[in-house]
Amino acid sequence: MNIPVGAFIAVSSVLFFIGVAGVLMRRNAVVILMCVELMLNAANLALVAFSRRGGSADERGSVFVVFIFVIAAAEVAVGLAIVLSSYRNRPTVDVDELHAMKG
Amino acid sequence: MPLGPFGLDPAIWAVLRLVIAVLLAVGLVFNGALAQIYLERKIQAIIQDRVGPIHTGPWGLLQTLADAVKLLGKEDIRARLTDRWFFLAAPAFVFSPMLASYVVIPFAPGVVGADLNIGLLYLTTLGSMTVLGIVIAGWASNNKYSLIGGLRSAGQLISYEVPQILSLVTVVLVVGSLSLTQIVDSQPGIFINLLVLPLAFVTYFIAGLAETNRNPFDLPEAESELVAGFLTEYSGMRWGLFFVAEYGEVTVVSSIVTTLWFGGWHGPWTDIHPLVGPALGVLWFTLKTYFFVLVFMWIRATLPRFRIDQLMSLCWKFLIPVTLTNLMVTAVLLLAFPDDKLPVAIANWVLLVLFAAAVPYLQRRRLAALRQRLATRRLSLATADRPS
């Protein structure tokens, strides 16, 4: 195919950038989780693209994508659990209002 | 250059094949839905000692057609407080994966939309996507019943995906391929996988019942508890889409069962003629599939509905352990005796018997309570009947 790997890498880096921006800017904890998922997806794309680089048949990159799936699942489960339990204490998911740990 | 059947050019034959497959798919879905609705009503009627539809057309054959027309003609109502776009999108979310899953089902030798080498994985993936549609539908219609229905169904589907996929993996282990055609080819004649993996078949069938929201797992649209679950706010053709999607799912599950455990299109005289053979294959396949569809209906007419906690505990405390054990045993045996199916078969039958025997023991308390209740009722009946 005639699309260079770089194009995929570019897409993935842009996606990652957007994810970072979202994590740093949005107030809603759930949205922050979503943005983290976006960043992980960017990583997946980059990994697959690199594993497809230079006619390499082995799937090392894809293996790590699989591991990232696992980590993403764990992360979102625990993250949502934390968000829910904190929402029980104070009915808000606004990260700017959750500063009980202020030193 | 080699010629396909009837001296057709292979490329044209391939295209033709694709067309046939897609036509079969759509036909199976829509006409199948119509036929199934009719069948369902008739069968329910027979079982419940009624007559069912008789007026429209001979034996009421045209009843469902009329219903379909009515549904199409209905006004497309949307309550004001519903969430516009999600409300409109939800049926598509449920319908399209179902339709897409027909692409990989092998109806006959060569009659298959796309012979993916990961066909089974593809199927499960699409099955997992319908959850999204149902949750959105439940949430979008801004209605407690719908929301609860959607959440319930999401929990149910996600939970039952686990035993479903585990049962499939057992078959994949034995056959050694994810491609459906190869799975079919691996069970010629009477040597169907059912003889090798009965337990996996049973577990998959139960999980499939849950995956299609059929009785006894139709909690998301449990009339007695939530008006119609996530369907409450829907009407007209959107509701119809959900309805067709349900029957389509039933067909998909049945065809998966057919493909994986009952030799797919295998049957007599499938190789007598390059054109008649496939046609017969399609016939056998359809017959087998519809047998299981009938089984679905029969179950619906027979079994009562679960309670939500019973549903969950059945999945997590019984099905998943059973399927895991099955998977472990199968894998170990395959490691021990590669390419020899006999030990696996024996172990599977033994496990099936064991677990079947275990059920009454696991449920002993509930059974005892049930017996108690029945005894008291019989007693009260007896006292009631006694002429005073």
Binding site: V20, V23, L24, A29, I32, V95, D96, L98, H99, A100, M101, K102, G103 | -
Partner: protein
């Protein structure tokens, strides 16, 4: 089979583990018989090993595994099986078995039953390690192990304050001894470059007299600490606060003889280092008479036995000092039997009287508890060295050894001690068993102990009656000599062959000494002429001196401890002001820094994420700079 000698300590260890892990909750009173069975089994193996050694395996080293290997410094966990250690194994396991059986009865009503047998089994294990070790380091392991168990068992009834204090006292005195042992061990390694007996003894000739003396004195300090010799003796009498089986096994039969065993084991060193040997002899003799005098006036039956133990240990060191190690081991064995018997007997008396230890409240008990009486009578005779009982042969050999080595003064001291010994034995026996019961109430409730307690007494009595005759006859040519001689013999030590008349003379003298003591005792306590009270009044100050044990404890408490306290006060001040000052300073520093850095923790997740991103930015800048070749050098 000599190869499974390692089973001997392994079985008590197993018993210890089982009892310690399951005892309190599940096994309860089964623990006693588990431990006893284990020790009995190892006793059988010990007999087997003994016979093997008898059959001609002079010196075998059974290596279990390599413990420490640093360069050429090699320490194995291995057992040295030679006549000496096999005799010790025999004594420990056999006497131990009998005492374990006794303890099953004695401790039956104690709520700490499981705990008791846990520590007891551990003690046997440690003692066997001590005995079997083939190098000083492994011996030190057992050495410390028995010290620990002695501490735990003296303080067994830790609810009461007295046992706590006794336990601490024993522990600290033993620490002084262990300090000596450690110095000896290290010096040995520095001088000989090894700690294995065989290597060390092989190189004795190659080192200077001064070094040898230093090593021997250090080791002897350790031995004195363990065996309660002057000036480290005062913990042993207090150790009687522990249960009587403990006193019998640990503080009479086995542990306190560890010092003797150490010196006997190191005979080549001591012989080569003349002055050290002299020190051993003198300290032994002085301790013997010193403790004997104190024993004259004690009223607590167990304390009498305790001081008598100290005195007998003094005898053994005297024997070692005058170059008769065989006699020392011989006396060790016999003493193990009859002193254990005496302790168990007094234990059975105490048990029968409901934990009454004061002899002034006893009397006339022989009618109540005949078995105890007769067995203790035999043991007393043995202690008073009446022929043909066991004690006579061993003690006679010690005395003759002292005389023949030309040190007549020490011999005289021994004779005097023998008289005193016979006297206080008679006194104790009389006050306990004869005469009119002084405490009618106690007397009426007195009862003979159950069979589980009396049977061991009988067995031990047989031992203390016949052992000497069996292995010690004829004097200086007995079986024990032919057996142990080669093990402890040192080249250069001339094997003196005295003519029979001298031996008979010496024997006569010691018998006479014993009889004299007994006669005096009977005269004073049966005929009341002279009346004991009158004697007490006549010798007022001396009596008070003796009753107060020469004020040794007071001396320690005031002079020594004050000096120590002053010294430690200085250390304490240094610790508080300098070391703690440093620590607190660092702590304050950290606290101040934390107070400063606290502001960084805003508690907002976003800020933390932002810091992560800043870090990423830094990395990217560095990477970009590197790619652009900024950091090229």
């Amino acid at each position: 089979m000599i190869q499974n000698v390692w089973l001997i300590p392994a079985l008590p260890l197993a018993a210890f583990l089982i009892n310690g892990l399951l005892g309190r909750r599940w096994l309860k009173h089964a623990t006693g018989w588990i431990a006893t069975g284990a020790v009995a089994a190892s006793a059988f193996i010990a007999i087997d090993v003994f016979l093997e050694v008898l059959g001609g395996h002079e010196r075998t080293t059974v290596t279990l595994y390599r413990w420490i290997g640093v360069g050429d410094f090699n320490i194995n966990v291995s057992a040295l099986v030679d006549p000496l250690s096999s005799v010790m194994l025999l004594v420990v396991t056999v006497v131990g078995t009998l005492i374990f059986i006794f303890a099953n009865g004695y401790m039956a009503h104690d709520h700490g039953f499981a705990r008791f047998f846990t520590w007891f089994s551990l003690f046997v294990f440690a003692m066997l390690i001590l005995v079997m070790a083939d190098n000083y380091l492994l011996m030190f392991v057992g050495w410390e192990g028995v010290g620990l168990c002695s501490y735990l068992l003296i303080g067994f009834w830790f609810e009461r304050p007295a046992p706590q204090h006794a336990a601490n006292k024993a522990f600290w005195m033993n620490r002084i001894g262990d300090w000596g042992y450690t110095i000896g061990m290290i010096t040995t390694f520095l001088v000989f470059g090894s700690m294995t007996y065989t290597d060390v003894f092989a190189k004795v000739g190659t080192v200077t007299q001064a070094n040898l003396t230093l090593i021997c004195i250090a080791f002897f300090v350790g031995a004195a600490g363990k065996s309660a010799q002057l000036p480290l003796h005062s913990w042993l009498p207090d150790a009687m606060e522990g249960p009587t089986p403990v006193s019998a096994l640990i503080h009479a039969a086995t542990m306190v003889t560890a010092g003797v065993y150490l010196v006997a084991r190191s005979t080549p060193l001591f012989v080569a280092a003349g002055p050290a040997l002299q020190v051993v002899a003198v300290v032994g003799a002085v301790t013997a008479i010193f403790a004997a005098t104190i024993a004259l006036v004690q009223m607590d039956i167990k304390r009498v036995m305790a001081y008598s133990t100290v005195s007998q240990l003094g005898y053994m060191f005297l024997a070692l000092g005058v170059g008769a190690p065989v006699a020392a081991i011989f006396h060790l064995a016999t003493h193990a039997f009859f002193k254990a018997l005496l302790f168990l007997g007094s234990g059975s008396v105490i048990h029968g009287l409901g934990n009454e230890q004061d002899m002034r409240k006893m009397g006339g008990l022989r009618r109540k508890m005949p078995v105890t009486y007769w067995t203790m009578l035999i043991a007393g005779g043995a202690l008073a060295a009446l022929p043909p009982l066991a004690g006579f042969w061993s003690k006679d050999e010690i005395l003759s050894g002292a005389f023949l080595s030309g040190q007549t003064a020490l011999w005289a001291v021994g004779i005097v001690t023998a008289i005193l010994t016979a006297f206080y034995v008679t006194r104790a026996m009389w006050m306990t068993f004869h005469g009119e019961p002084r405490d009618r109430h106690l007397y009426d409730h007195a009862h003979e102990s159950p069979a589980v307690m009396t049977l061991p007494l009988v067995a031990l009595a047989v031992g203390s009656a016949t052992l000497g005759l069996l292995i010690g006859f004829p004097p200086d040519q007995g079986f024990i000599h032919s057996f142990l001689g080669p093990a402890v013999a040192v080249e250069g030590a001339a094997e003196h062959a005295p003519e029979l008349s001298t031996l008979l003379g010496l024997a006569g003298v010691s018998v006479a000494a014993g009889i004299v003591g007994i006669v005096i005792g009977i005269a004073m306590y049966v005929r009341h002429r002279p009346d004991p009270a009158a004697v007490t009044r006549a010798a007022g100050p001396i009596y008070r001196l003796l009753v107060n044990k020469y004020y040794v404890d007071e001396l320690y408490d005031h002079r020594v401890l004050e000096a120590a306290r002053a010294f430690f006060g200085v250390l304490w001040a240094f610790d508080v002001h300098v070391i703690d000052g440093l620590a607190n300073g660092i702590g304050r520093l950290a606290a101040a820094g934390g107070a400063g850095a606290r502001r960084l923790q805003t508690g907002l997740v976003g800020n933390y994420a932002l810091t992560v991103v800043v870090g990423l930015l830094v990395v990217l800048v560095a990477y970009g700079g590197y790619a652009a070749g900024v950091f090229k050098r």
